[in-house]
Amino acid sequence: MKPPTLLPSLPPAPGPAKDPAPSAPADFASLRRRLEEERGRGRWRSLEELAAAPEFEAALPPEFAEGADSPAPIDRREAFRMLGVSFALAGLTACTRQPEEKIVPYVRTPEDVVPGGTPLFFATSMTVGGYATGLLVESHQGRPTKAEGNALHPASLGAADVFGQASLYGLYDPDRSQTLTYLEEIRPWPAFLGAMRTAVEAQKPSRGAGLRILTETVTSPTLAAQIQALLAGLPEAKWVQWEPLSRDAVRHGARLAFGEPVDVVPNLSRAAVILSLGSDFLGHAPGHLRMARDFAARRRELASIEGSKGGGVRLYVVETAPTITGANADHRLAVRPSEVERLARSLMAALGGTGGGSPSTGNAFLSAVASDLAAHRGSSLILVGDEQPPAVHALGHAINAALGNFAQTVTAIDPVEARPADQLAELRTLVEEMEAGRVDTLLILGGNPVYDAPADFRFAERLAKVRLRVHLSLYADETSTLCQWHVPRAHFLESWSDARAFDGTASIVQPLIAPLYDGRTEHEVLGALTDRPERSSYEVVRDFWRTRLGPDFEGAWRRALHDGLVADTAFPARNVPRPEAPPAAEEARAGGETGLEALFRGDPNLYDGRFANNGWLHELPRPITKLSWDNAALFSIATAGRLGLKKEDVVRIAFRGASIRAAVWIEPGVPDETVLLHLGNGRRKSGRFGTGLGFDAYPLRFSDALWSAPGVEVRKEGDTWPLACTQLHQNMVGRDLARAADVEEFRRDPDFAHRDELEKEPSAADSLYRPYPSDTYAWGLSIDLNACIGCNACVLACQAENNIPVVGKDQVRRGREMHWLRVDHYYGGNPENPEHFFQPVPCMHCEDAPCELVCPVGATVHSAEGLNDMIYNRCVGTRYCSNNCPYKVRRFNFYHYSLQFRAPSMKMLPNPDVTVRWRGVMEKCTYCVQRIQGAKIAADIENRRVRDGEITTACAQTCPTQAIVFGDLADADSRLSRRRREPRSYALLSELGTRPRTSYLAGLRNPSPKLPRPVRAGWSELEPEKETGQR
């Protein structure tokens, strides 16, 4: 029967609803009817026409049943209906009749498409901040459904990060800008071409003096060439780049150190001692997936007993804002931004270099680091965060050089950016020229400067002084509204383009689907300024490479498309002058007290705000705070105490006259007397999710204080703002859940993970029952806590693979998030600078599953291969199984969350191999059973066993550190079985006798013997923090 769709307490759908959509409402109705006909996985059948259908501009039905429990909006009609339903309960039962369905074949089946058969995979690349990461995207009959990492790509190695995983949601986001508009009115593409044509003609006399092109950081050779060509024709025109999370400091640092802007690429696979000066190289940095992989590989060496000599890695982190890198450190030092440089200088000095620092800073940490580094010349590595001042970067290079790490753990290469520049300075000149009225035409290709340019640039008001303003972007955002021309941008999964990876590898961006709306690429918009405007971006990119791929172009080109990259385009190492430590600037020596200091960082989920309308990323709990949806102003315990702040209090943060309101969250590990603000939230104009969620920190961000604002004032506003945190207790209350030990301890007692008597797993003899034998296969999963860095990629991979709906902030606050896989995060040690434990928790697939025993209808039972099956269509929703699940991995559809997949564009998102769950049904991790069955069928057709590694779960596949391994326990030498035999292998809550199929490898820490051990036990002594009203 059709589920009730009325949501009386909801506001009308935002965004597109108000847009003047060309399709008449009648068309939309017909579309909806047509879509209604194919439900669940049947949905894909008639997509070929759909993709082309104009009805895509249609409005969306509201997605969440937020506030549905507020009794307010019930009119008379409603009331009668309610009574009616309750009386008619009996009638609801026996209607199991199949609805009539259409079946729509191809007219001409495309090559290598097998309808309903195995999907195809295409290689493409995603750029964040200009740097490309390779993706492999799954496509069902021309409908991209899932993004994976591209194993061939140096920046991916088969892994994808949260942004890559979430890109699909971005593609199908119904709020994306859908029409080319001039002054809010729809215009055809030719009209735009004409306008550009005249604009260029107008510029010709002044040789482009009035023309400015503002882009994001560009690494795309093709785009760069296009712009250069354009500028060649109009030499007076200027090309400006702006990235709000700018890497200017990196470029400056390089200049300071080497006199030219080289890129320095770290190679962690050789590093035995790593010192990160505020670098979040595991979270967000060019090539972070690669670095995470190498780091984990080194970490693993710790686990091999004989690896005692030489193997392994020790990570020191000096950081100002808590990051997952800091969370994975063996020693973490939280300092205020102003102190980093002093530390660096002292270190330099301690290593006998020059740098104006005094080695005699009686700092135990420093001396330990110094001696450790000194002991590992050539195998040590200093990494400096983008947010650090140029001097620190230069110092970093200097120290690396002093330690002889060049050509060992770091290599210098030509800059990857097409035109390395001081972006801030360029932007400043631009706004000055705008102010002076010298800018006649401004092309903003991507980016959202009105929202993210430094506050003192007053970009918005200056923009008004430009005569002709053009904005190309995915959304009709803050900038678009201030431009006459708004060109909807094609999503990268709809575009032809290219870009370079962190090591210079040229990566191809190829489309998975024709633009859903009439989106355009930068190439096409730029083309509009040339005399060949009709060239498609495919031709542009292809033509660019035609001359560069050698004689056999076709072959090489096909190979490039297949691999997703152009072979051997990584930049070679180059030698650079020996860097010298820069002279200490004044304020650096001064340092000293600056009062409360605000830190600005990119949001772990929303980056600089570009992902602000991505439901998956919004709902994803941030790695450490576990806050989903809104961001918050993070204070350390002490500082919050001093200011008398509680969680969810609203404060006003003022800096140089500007001020913002923000909700407070208390985060141990934030340095005292600082407040950490994540950028990218609180968008003023975005889609249904972005607009108004969280708070915007950009107004406090000034060009001379991009990363930290000393001397902010924080005032309590009195009111509170609800925050949706998915883990209220980040404290193991003395339970040994996420187990870890120091390497020394481990070497002494490899079996340390099984010492606690209470946690012994009951032996088979303790059970009255004979265990069931597994038939042919015995699936299992192992998660290496030593490798897990808590990056959340697995969570989103799972969400994307398994059609997991987004439930919204209100529901998350009620404890109803649907993530099948969650990454638990616990604190240990000293609350001021705690130790962190990450623990991904999927379904344990217990052999003696408590959930199965209590299900009255047998909706969750055991498969012959040891899976804990969940059968949605049998489930009546007693929620007993969830109550009885000690791991609380089961999720329940309290409302008809999956309605969101009925939205026209969202219909294309779901994975056709996974049932879309409906209201009142329990669901949970299935070990991606659809993949298991697929592989088994393939194997059975060939009359063979499934090979080890043939099946990977979504989480395992995307894990950057390969912490997760799926496999067959019946096969004694599968990777999984080998892991199971390791002494560190343990099962969560095994003392309950559930006999989980999911097991963990205890984590290892490699602390310096010179430094005091952190307390390993979780915060057993601390009382769990006070509950907020939520959940």
Partner: protein
């Protein structure tokens, strides 16, 4: 009427309120008339209309809440992960518990030859039925997909599937439905002779037909009486273990689970005790106003109240022992999860509910040690109300505080009932009241024929009279 005037003045010994289970001066006729007139001749008192109207209103609230629930889904309630069960199950257990007194009184006390049960068993059984009806609602409502509730029953289906017999919820289905059916039969069988009485007393044809049909043509034949009593006795014998089993099974819903605070062997006994406890509290809550309003002090005497008060005290003490043991074992077991659960119950965010429950269930009944309290209806009434509240709180504590913090601190949470939770709960109170009002209006709320056996004249071995009568005749 004429023949009653010819009766000699018969009085039983002058009343002693503490021992009498029936007031002085009653004859077969007067008992019959006094009780049957409430339904037949006497004008319906105003309070009945007011009360029924109110109850009916609340019932409509219930239906409203249910309607909204079916439209929107279970999400309108406060339940979440980890607290998958909220008010629905709390209310279910509470109502079922209340439902225990009736059958207990009529079955167990019958087997124990407790004569004083006769005047209270009828409406106690009715109460049982209505309580079970309210209880039975919740397992249905709390389902995510209530329209598929029949999956829990073994019925011929095209999927070739069965219920999962190891699940306590399936046991519940059988236990509750069996209990409902047997209680209904028991109650109805008890009613048959009285229905015959009403049939014969009724003046209007309509009533004669309705009561007549229900009476099945009962004519008080000696042979019938003989089998009737055998059947009644057997039913009592069957209902007694049943009553015990039902709340045992309900307690299995929790004990079969591994949740700390649920997984405990003490549950069955102390659930049963708790059920009787709350049941008798409810009987008192109903009996005290009833006897006042309908002037039944002679049938429901102080002695009745005292006996019930004593049972209340006894079961209350058993329940108290249960609480004590739970806490003690939490510590003694050495199981960190159980021990944390105990601490959390006492001092955690839901601590206040626990202490309130202790005050209601453990402290308030202690007043019953004093005879003055036992024999004062209004004091008893107050205590009964407190116990009802306390028992509800107990179920809340068991369900919610056990679930909200179990094994992994990462998934701990809080439960906040929404307005719909409350509406549903209050609604069932209305339904219960409405049904009960209808019952006292249309059926004899006290077993007439059993009351007849209580007066001395029912005793046959006084042939003297008859002989003298024979001489009197010419």
């Amino acid at each position: 009427m004429t023949d009653s005037s010819r009766e000699l003045p018969r009085t039983s010994s002058p009343g002693d309120p503490d021992r009498d289970i029936i007031g002085p001066g009653y004859t077969f006729a007067s008992i019959t008339d006094k009780i049957s007139q409430i339904t037949l001749s006497r004008r319906t008192p105003r309070f009945w209309f007011v009360g029924f109207a109110l109850a009916f209103l609340l019932t409509m609230v219930l239906f409203g809440a249910i309607g909204w629930l079916f439209l929107k889904g279970i999400g309108i309630w406060g339940v979440n992960i980890p607290i998958g069960w909220g008010f629905a199950i709390v209310n279910f257990v509470w109502w079922i518990g209340i439902g225990h007194a009736g059958t207990l009184i009529s079955a167990i006390l019958l087997l124990l030859h407790q004569e004083w049960r006769t005047s209270i068993n009828r409406f106690a059984e009715a109460m049982t039925l209505f309580a079970v009806a309210c209880a039975g609602l919740f397992p249905l409502l709390h389902l995510g997909r209530p329209w598929l509730a029949y999956y829990l029953l073994p019925y011929p289906n095209t999927m070739a599937l069965w219920p999962q017999w190891r699940s306590p919820l399936v046991w519940d289905v059988f236990a509750v439905s069996t209990y409902g059916t047997v209680s209904l039969l028991f109650w109805y069988v008890g009613l048959i002779p009285d229905l015959a009485t009403l049939r014969d007393r009724a003046r209007r044809k309509g009533f004669q037909i309705v009561y007549g049909m229900l009476a099945m043509g009962w004519r008080g034949s000696a042979r019938h009486w003989h089998r009737y009593e055998t059947a009644y006795l057997l039913l009592a014998g069957l209902a007694t273990p049943l009553v015990i089993s039902v709340h045992t099974v309900v307690s299995f819903d929790f004990t079969i689970g591994i949740v700390p605070g649920w997984h405990s062997t003490i549950f069955p006994p102390y659930f049963v005790a708790g059920a009787i406890y709350s049941g008798f509290a409810m009987v008192l809550t109903l009996a005290i106003p009833l006897r006042a309003v309908y002037g039944l002090e002679d049938f429901i005497t102080i002695r009745h109240l005292q006996n019930m008060a004593k049972i209340l005290l006894a079961t209350g003490l058993i329940v108290a022992y249960g609480y004590l043991m739970e806490t003690f074992i939490g510590w003694y077991s050495g199981n960190p999860f159980d021990w944390y659960m105990v601490k959390n119950r006492l001092l955690g965010p839901y601590g206040p509910t626990y202490w309130l429950l202790i005050a209601c269930n453990l402290l308030s009944p202690q007043a019953l040690w004093w005879k003055r309290v036992r024999s004062s209806p209004w004091r008893l009434f107050l205590i009964a109300l407190l116990v009802n509240t306390g028992m509800w709180l107990e179920r809340f504590v068991i369900v919610v505080t056990s679930l909200h913090r179990d094994f992994l601190p990462s998934s701990w949470g809080m439960y906040v009932p929404t307005i719909w939770d409350w509406a549903t709960f209050i609604g069932t109170l209305g339904l219960f009241a409405a049904l009960f009002f209808l019952f006292i209006r249309f059926l004899p709320m006290i077993s007439i024929f059993e009351m007849r056996t209580l007066i001395p004249e029912a005793d046959v071995e006084t042939p003297a009279e008859t002989r003298s009568r024979r001489e009197a005749t010419p």
